[in-house]
Every structure is written in C-alpha cells, then in structure tokens.
Amino acid sequence: MTLDRRSFLKVLGSGAPVAALSCRDRDRADELEARGGVAAPRDGDLTWGKAPCRFCGTGCGVEVAVDGGRVVAVRGDEASPVNKGLLCVKGYHLPAFLYGEDRLTQPMRRHPDGREETISWDQALDLIAEKFQGALDRKGPEGVAVYGSGQWTVFDGYAALKWVKGGMGSNNLDPNARLCMASAVMGFVTQFQSDEPMGCYEDFEAGDDFVLWGNNMAEMHPVLFSRILENKRKNPRVRIVDLATRRTPTSDYADLYVEFRPGTDLALANGILHLLIEDGKIDRPFIEENLVFRRGIEDLDEIGYGCFGDQAERYGFKDEATESSLEEMREFLADYTPAKVAEVTGVPAAQIRALAELYGDAGRGTVSLWCMGVNQHVRGTWMNNLINDLHLLTGKIGRPGANPFSLTGQPSACGTAREVGTLSNRLPADMVVMKEEHRRKAEEIWGLPPGTINPKPGFHTMDMFRAFARGDVEAMWVQTTNPWVSLPNLHRFERKPGDGRFLVVSDIYPTPTTAVADLVLPSAAWVEREGVFGNTERRTQQWNRLADPPGEATEDAWQFIEVAKRMGMGHLFPWDGDWHEPMFEEYRSFTLGVGKDLASYQQLKSTRGLRWPVVDGKETRYRYAAGHDPYVEKTEGVHFYKAKGYGERAAVWLRPYHPPAEVPDDEYPLWLTTGRVLEHWHTGSMTRRVSQLHQAVPEAFVELNRADALEMGIQDGDRVRLRSRRGAMELVAQVDGRGQPPRGTVFVPFFDESVKINELTLDAMDNISKEPDFKKCAVRVERLA
C-alpha cells in the first residue's frame, strides 16, 4: 500500500483534521464529530511551551502546542533571536516525528536464537548492570564503552560522563560528534586552546563576504542561509562564494562558484595564504600583537590515513608542535603559487587571485563557513587550521561580520559533546583526562577520591567499534544515534546478537542499530522530557517536559542513573526528587570563571537561550573581543586569553597539502561523496516517519554527472549498481537533479537505511581529530541490463 492512499483514508476517516472556515464547513465538522469522530484539538484548548528544534545545530526556537499530553502543532518562535520565526520544512513538521506507529515503548531483549522478549525496566537495568560489571571484571576499564550523541541533552551527556569516567574509571565514552565535529574541535583547540567559535549568528547580518568551504548551507542550515540571503537582498554589497566539489542549491545563490578537486581544498587555502603574504595583504600589527606560529608532523608515511596496514585496527597518531614563524611560513608557502595550485586543485588561477583579494580586502568583513566538507576530511584539522589562519593573518576575527564560523550538524554537538566533554579524552569545559589538575578538579566537584579518573584517553569512535568487533570491548551502550547506518565501511562491524559481546541500544524507533542489539530500550524524545541543548553559536537553550512519552519510554539520562545505582555508583547521582536543576548547576560549576560560564538554570528557563560566557547574567556575542567578552580587559582588539600555552596568543599553523586516502583509478574511476538532503535529517530514523518529508524524498539515489551518464548509457531514473572495494548496492540514478556533481564524481545521501551507502565508504580518518572522511573514496557505476 502506498502512503498516498493510506494517508488519504486517514484524513477522511474519524478524527479527520477538517478545516472549518465557512458556516458550511463548521456544520460539516460538527456533523462528522457527532457521528463519533474524535475531535481534533483547537487552538483555544492548547498549552504552549518553548523548545529548540530537535534536528540540526542551528537551534531554531519553536513554540510547541500541547493538548492532552500530545504535541499537536509547532510554530517558529518569532521572538527567537536564532530564527526570528522562520523554520525549515523539517522544523515545521516536527510534531509528527514523535508519533510514528512503530515507536519503541517497552524494553526488549533479543536472545541469541533471535527470539525477542519484552521485559520490564527492572529486568533490563539489572541485565545492563550485570553485563557492564562483568566486562569490567574481566577486561578492566577498556572492556566497556558508551557511544553517545550530539543529540544527547546536557543531562544525558553529563550523566554518561559521570558514570563512565567518575564511576567505572573508563574513558571509553565517545559521541557520534566524532563523525561530525571533531575536526572543528581540534582546529579551535590547536589554535585557541579552547573549543567553539568566537563569532555568532549576528555575523550573518554584519558580514560582507560569506565564503562557504564545502558547505551546502541552503540545504543543511537553511534558516541561517536565509539570514545571509536577507542580508544580500538588503545590501547589494554582500557576496556569497561557494567553494565546492559539486553544484548544490547553494551554488545557485553564489556570486562566485569555485569548484575544486576532492581533497585539494588544503592546496587552495595555502594558495590563498601564499598570495596574501606575497601581496602584503596581511595585518602585521595584529600578527605581532596576537599570534604565534606552529608547525606539526608533515610526513605522509608517518601519519598515514588510519585505515591501512597496522593502522586498520588502532589509530593513535599524535601530532607534535614545533615553533615556527611568519618568515618560515612564507618559505613553506613558496610552493603554492597560483599556477601550481591551479594544477592541483583544478581552480583557475584567476579565481585563486579573486579569493585572495577577497580575504585581503581590509575594508570588507569576511565570514568563512564550513561544516562536513571540511570536517569529514583525512586532514580535517589541518583544513580547519588553514581557514582559521586566513582570518588570523588578516586580523578578520573577533569582530562583528569578520570571523571563521564552523557550523554544527546536531542540536547539542556543542552543548553536550563538546562542552560537557563526552569525548574519550575530555572532561567538562575544555578540560582533558590527560592533565592531572583537570582530573583533580573534576574529582573535587564530583566528591571522588583523587586518582578515580583514568588518565589514559579511551577509544575514539572508530577504534571503539573496531575493538567491539574484535571483542576487546565486551559491553557497549549506544544511545540516541544509529551507527549501523552512519559508520563508514559498515561491513567491518556486522554482528549478530549472542556473539559473546553485549550491545544495548536506546532509541525511539527500530533502526538497523536496534536490529543488531541484545537489548533495546525505549527512550523519551525531545519535549517528552526536560532538556538543555547548546547550539552552534554557543547558545544554551532549556526546555521543560511538555508532552507524555509513549508507553514505558524514559529519559536517556535516567537510564544511566539507574544502571549506575545498580552498580553501586549511586553516590554519583545524590539528588532526591527532580534532579535536573541540581545536576545542571553541578555541571555549571565546571564552567564558571574559566571563560565557558553557562547561565544559571533559572535564567535559562526564563529566556530563549543565552550565549556563553554568561557573566553577571549577561551573554557574550563575540568571544575574545574587547567590548564584548567580559574576560577581555583590553579596550580594543582581541585577547586570546584561553591560549595559555601560546602566551595568550592564537597559533597559526603551517599545514601542507596531502592527497586523499583513496583516489579514483582505472578499476574504480569515480569519486563517491556522501551527505544529506534538506528534507531528511541524518539517518532518517525520525524524518522518514513524517509523511510530508518521506514523500518529498522517498529514497536514496545516486547523482551522476550528465556527461558521465551519457557516456555510460544511463538515463535519469535508471537503476544502476554502485561498487567500491568494500561493497556494492543498487540505486536509482539521478541526472541534473538538485545537485550536479562534476565529471568523475557521484553523490549519494545517507538518510535511507534500505541502501546504506556507508557499506561502500572508506574508514580513513583525520590524523588529529580521528574523524572519518565520508566525502572521498573511489567507486564505479555499473549499468544494469
């Protein structure tokens, strides 16, 4: 049965949302209801509350209408400074994602023979405690793992952090943000010694030039892109530059479209830096006052790609910094002349010069924007470094309309994964487990004896799943994410329950990840529980529980707390009754006085979010900037006060071009790049259960270049087979759809669990952030007879 007929009948049956406008309509509605139809809610009966959107990292404010414990409508919050009333199609259709007919409502145990058994929460929690304790006893702290999410609320992430690091003495805690934002984190950390951007969304109105590095913003951050478009509509001076490996809807709005060969953005950025220095378009007083220069390990053989030879099981490369200088940088960049860069990148020298003029024009505010194109990159940290370098050398940083601004893909990648620090090496507020003083501070706040926290970083995501596949990790808990769709090179991680390891998965719907779990737990989602998210611009947003979760579904944080209690770690969660506010205030104490200051819980409850650092109740729009950041005592300019290791200056890094891990050859002649579409969010487990979104893009496809398609005898709509060294699958070909790859490149979105494109991708990763590169591997397209 197709959706059309089904939804058609639903609309017409009892409970039909009859729009009553005319007298005749109203009479008809009354008549239908009188015949036993269920009355649909009307505006006057509703309770309205606030929440950030559940989907991307933008953090749009929505008003949520609730009737009888169920969400019945949302509207864009006109008073939200983020979105000013606007939402994207995913946001407008938010309420329906909660009510898919296959919501998980009860804990379910899957036995080795495949039998599924509904069990009670007590049985489920006892089982997890037993399995995790057993793994700890047999294997020690490396034998357990928790894989979390940038969709975790602050409470979920903080509870996980406390239980794993403060309770089990393990650091095997990592989020899916490792697949998403880790390179941006390491970019900020290596240069400013503090994570997250200095700018904010007001840059979209204040800036003149918006340079999008591999970033399809019109589809991935549509509401923020609308702010740029509105600026452009009002101010003809505004220019949008789209640097890309594929034409997208964003390209249609660009004043300049610059197409480079996959992975050569490193060379392009270095080419721009070369011209800036040669042409004297750098800000020397700013450099002398605020910057230091650093250089890392550059040897390709030593670094590798994290997926070949002995790196294929464990990748622990560690960069080492040496001091450098502007003079050395000039020599280092001598190789990156426009002619040579044009040869490597495929970008005409004139366009490289135009980009250098744009960055070098001191009279114009430049905002660089990037997301997955730069982060999911085998040299993603380097690429982050080079973009930040462009702003540092030109002094275009820390003021309205001039900043490097990294966009995030998940609603609390910043608030939870990065700020709470649910990464294998991290603690809250920029602290790391490797530093004794950081461990001591955490132990003190948590009331734990010194030495409780393990100083050895745990597995990063890729090594965590490799270790689980080997059996070195025995017990693993996956929450709020769908790794059996989203991990690269998926065939490596195939498993069946009952293989001697224990996998528990908490989610709201059945997914390919719950399908391989030994225990599946039903979670409450979004406004079915109280929460806090932190968005891309450092804005912390709180919401109350507004609706009822279905069946026995519970809050993710509660699940951790209850297991911790069963493992004798109840002292970590000492609060009676409603623990949300005291837990948040304890977490907040990590952030105060160190430039990461969060607002109080009460202040967050009564506002539409505030951007940290929040000092004396006031938020900060521009970090490090005099007149904005309360930690800066200077009267003008910037002060990179967090970078103690660089003498409170920011570091410019010299980073060379390295080629991608796998490049097309005779056997696999095409680049495969993967990504999202506007209508679906990540692996589609939520958006594919909303009919309007599902029908907008019902299935994944492979975008082909028209000339390539002609040459292969393939037409739009044909089914083709796509094959890489790791697998093959059939897909529908799309030619001249919304995205148009250049010759030699194909694109496949990853939202469709029935065609898991990550069975074909390569698990090569960034040398520093350990973030996988989902954007570049080699494939071939086979025509089906």
Binding site: R42, R70, S226, S691
Partner: protein, 201 residues
C-alpha cells in the same frame, strides 16, 4: 490577468499530482460561491470541501502546505508572484503571502519549507493528529465590528494573497481589497499562553 504555460515538458503525473491539480482548480478558479465538493468514500452523507482539501495539504493548521503540483522546473516566483496568475493547463497560481517575511524574497529558497510529494513505498505509519483550523473562537465583538485575525501575521503579510482575487475562497474573500492597510482594522488574535521571556538580550 496574465496567462502562462509552465515551462518544461510535464512528466507522467503521479496520482497525487492529478489530485493536486484538480483541487488547485477547485480552490483557485473562484466564481463558485458554493465551493465545489465531492463525496467522501466510506462516510455517508459527507462531502469534501475546499477547506478539507486545504487541510489535506498540511500536517496541521500552521504547517506550510506541500506543493500540490508536479515540478515544472521553473522558479516558484515566476508563477507565484505578488498577484498570482492563471496558468494554462494547471489552474490559478495563488500569489505568495510572504511579502515581508525576513529571509523570504524573490531570491529566497521556497523549497526549504514547501516540498514536492511523490508516491512512496516503505511507509511505516504515523498516528499524529494535529491542530485543526478553527473559527469557533469569537470572531468579532459585535455584528458591525471588524473581525479579528484568527491567525498570525508572520509569513502572511500579503493579506490579499488569500483574501482577494481568484485564489481566495469565497468564505474568506474581502469585499474591500482596495483598502490596502488591512491591519488598521483587523487585529491579530492568536493563542494565549505564548512563552514570555524576561530580559533576553
């Protein structure tokens, strides 16, 4: 009124598109104060009104409508301009109600909110029952008072898009479109209980 033929050769219409084109004509052509209606299968005596058709295009009252026609490959604003136009072989193309909305303009990205619909397999069902449009709330103080707006103004700044011209349904059509400043007499009356912050900078 201009007449325009959509650019691009129409592909095979899906069942949805056929339904959408029919209903676009039913709503948009105007001239029939009784609003054409059809029998609803399975519900004795029930007919489908244009208002119901409107509801079917929205997840709930307040959600953006899906696009009820196929993709003609043309820019949306080439037909959905400030006045709207009859499009040969399709029906009347209603004007855009988004005249003043921040971020929405001739260069804006219509399809970030309005999406085409294709027939889809592998649907798993959804039990969402959304807010329905309701005019049972008091609409005017007394018989001679101007009615209040039963909806917000945001995203609906161009009042005449829905309340005047061929696309306007008879029930909500104004008899004084020449009086340009609608909000001078008709004020917004939306739901109470909006979240009120204190002191957001």
């Amino acid at each position: 009124m201009s007449t325009r033929r959509p650019k691009g050769a129409p592909r095979a219409l899906t069942a949805f598109a056929v339904f959408g084109l029919w209903s676009l004509g039913a709503v948009g052509c105007g001239g029939d104060p009784n609003e054409p209606s059809v029998a609803v299968p399975g519900v004795a005596g029930a007919e489908k009104t244009a208002a119901l058709v409107r509801a079917e295009r929205r997840l709930f009252d307040g959600a953006p409508p899906v696009i009820p026609h196929e993709n003609f490959g043309a820019a949306c604003v080439s037909c959905h301009d400030q006045e709207g136009m009859a499009v040969e072989g399709v029906g009347f193309s209603p004007p855009s109600p988004h005249a003043e909305t921040v971020g929405l303009s001739a260069i804006s990205n219509c399809r970030q909110c309005h999406v085409f619909q294709e027939a889809a397999e592998s649907w798993r069902g959804n039990a969402f029952a959304g807010l329905r449009q309701d005019l049972r709330r008091g609409r005017r103080l007394h018989d001679l008072a101007p009615p209040v707006l039963p909806h917000g103004v945001f995203m609906r700044e161009n009042c005449v898009a829905c309340h005047s011209g061929p696309a306007a349904r008879e029930a909500i059509r104004t008899d004084h479109p020449e009086r340009a400043n609608c909000l001078q007499c008709h004020v917004e009356q939306t739901a109470t209980g909006r979240f009120e912050p204190d002191g957001v900078s």
